[in-house]
């Protein structure tokens, strides 16, 4: 079966500074995969390469078999993205933000309104369509961004540290929403974080540290292989760092 996302031998450098060093991993379709790494590990660089903001110096990136450089249109169509920075237009209403995104995928306003309402309902925000984005809380904005990212019906969703700045409840709600999408809609998800408490035993985990993949596999397997008690403990051992860096 084709992977939702396949990354093969990707390296990237900014001048002399190497941000990614021979990174390879895949996100199976319908799986919740966590990319775990501290700030500066290279997660955002990887995101920029997957979303084709710039090109990888070395290596290949495929989304459902479509190479992002050679077939960007076909690859990006399958992709929904929630960036780390907030990207809603605060001056526009929630629905206007969704309509704009839909237009960027060639979906006309009539279809977009219908899809937008459905996506907002899934995110539990059906009654906020007419509100200005500025009026939403941080957690609600994130949920709108997820609704927006799913509007064109992609099969792979990337989220770059989506829980940063959210309170405990909003974090839990967001995580539950995305896990529900994986379960119910067979969506492939790549969730980047530096917070180990967001990882469940059955999740696929990729540990990225200083631009290198140090471990990958099911969370429970990584914990067992390290003889550690928790994934946080295992990560600290693998990366050779103190546990305190892994708390929020």
């Amino acid at each position: 079966m084709t992977d939702a996302l396949a990354i093969r031998n990707v390296s990237h450098a900014y001048g002399a500074r190497k941000a990614l060093d021979d990174v390879s991993f895949s996100v199976p379709a319908g799986s919740f995969t966590v990319l775990l790494g501290l700030n500066g590990a290279g997660k955002s660089t990887l995101f920029s390469l997957i979303t084709r903001l710039y090109a990888a110096r070395h290596g290949e990136i495929d989304i459902f078999g479509h190479n992002v450089m050679r077939e960007p249109g076909a690859a990006l169509r399958q992709l929904g993205v929630v960036f780390q920075a907030r990207t809603l237009d605060l001056e526009l209403s929630v629905m206007q933000n969704l309509l704009y995104h839909a237009a960027l995928h060639g979906i006309g306003p009539i279809d977009a309104r219908r899809l937008g309402q459905a996506a907002l309902a899934r995110a539990g925000l059906a009654d906020r369509a007419k509100d200005k984005a500025r009026a939403l809380s941080g957690g609600q904005m994130r949920r709108v961004e997820i609704a927006r990212a799913l509007l064109h019906d992609p099969r792979l969703l990337l989220l770059d540290e989506p829980t940063v700045g959210l309170d405990i409840k909003a974090r839990a709600d967001l995580l539950a929403l995305v896990r529900g999408l994986v379960r119910d809609q067979h969506l492939g998800v790549l969730w980047t974080t530096h917070l180990v408490d967001e990882i469940a035993d059955d999740d696929q985990v990729i540990i990225l540290h200083q631009g290198k993949v140090l471990a990958k596999g099911r969370a429970a397997e990584i914990v067992a292989a390290q003889g550690a008690a928790t994934i946080g403990d295992a990560f600290a051992r693998i990366a050779g760092i103190g546990q305190e860096k892994l708390s929020a």
Binding site: T51, Y54, A75, L88, L104, G106
Partner: protein, 276 residues
């Protein structure tokens, strides 16, 4: 099969949906930023009412094409002010692109599956549409100061000239936006781009006068794309075509566009040099 599920490629209708979506968003943003609209209007009006009134006696303008008689200084500088509106708008669009990039919403645009040249072109056209609206709003007020074309057709013949000069200045702004690393660097661009372009042009004084005082500055004005945008607008407002300026503006527009699209190309662009 629904359009959404189409496996690859887009229909012409979908391209139009994308283009109109980008223009619609730019229009909405413009409507929400009333200060931007007011300042875009006040700036040229200050020049018209204060500067032009003050300099009317100092700077005499002889009869030069496209004028067929002596004209008031206000009439002479009006096309330069229209181009100034577009120059500021072009730079403001690029400022918003730098801002968008820092804030991440530029990524929302660039992650769209449409070809990147089309997305950037749509963004450019959206900015041009807004600048044309601003120019016509300026002309409504200027009308009451007897700044008007020879016949009402002048308002229509002006339109294609504004579209082309807006494209040129917008493409220049887009190119600059790809070169500027951070928002803080933008003030420098204003000083090094807007002011020299505006003052070293035929916007405020005819070039024969510049030539009399400094041949060197005259040549600078001659190669300045802004000079030709001003002349294209000046002639179009008088229902004429200045072919040389048209060709030069067209050439500069193509060059800026190609450079901007290359700069935003993921493989070789300037974005690459930045950390992410």
């Amino acid at each position: 099969m629904s359009e959404i599920a189409a496996p690859r490629g887009f229909t012409l209708r979908q391209y139009l949906i994308c283009l109109s979506g980008v223009v619609w968003r730019e229009g909405l943003r413009f409507l929400h930023q009333r200060e931007r609209f007011v300042s875009a209007l006040v700036r040229p009006l200050v020049w018209l009412f204060i500067f032009a009134a003050g300099f009317r006696q100092v700077l005499g303008v002889s009869i030069i094409p496209p004028y067929e008689t002596y004209v008031l200084y206000e009439v002479y500088i009006a096309p330069g002010l229209m181009a100034m509106i577009q120059l500021f708008n072009g730079m403001q669009s690029s400022l918003s692109m730098v801002y968008d990039r820092e804030m991440g919403s530029m990524r929302t645009l660039l992650v769209s599956p449409f070809p990147r040249w089309f997305l950037l072109g749509s963004k450019l056209l959206a900015g041009v549409a807004v600048s044309i609206l601003q120019v016509y709003a300026f002309l409504v007020i200027a009308y009451f100061w007897e700044i008007e074309p020879p016949t009402k057709w002048g308002y229509l013949t002006l339109l294609p000239a504004l579209a082309l000069s807006g494209l040129m200045l917008g493409a220049l702004g887009m190119l600059l936006s790809s070169l500027i690393k951070q928002l803080e660097n933008f003030a420098g661009v204003m000083n090094f781009v807007i002011f020299p372009m505006f003052f070293a042009s035929s916007a405020l004084y005819p070039l024969w006068r510049v030539k009399e005082s400094s041949p060197w500055l005259y040549y600078v004005c001659e190669v300045n794309p802004f000079t030709h945008a001003v002349e294209l607008i000046r002639f179009a407002f008088h229902e004429k075509v200045e072919w040389t300026s048209l060709a030069i503006v067209f050439g500069y527009t193509s060059a800026f566009l190609v450079a901007a699209i290359l700069a935003y190309d993921p493989g070789r662009g300037m974005l690459m040099r930045r950390g992410g």
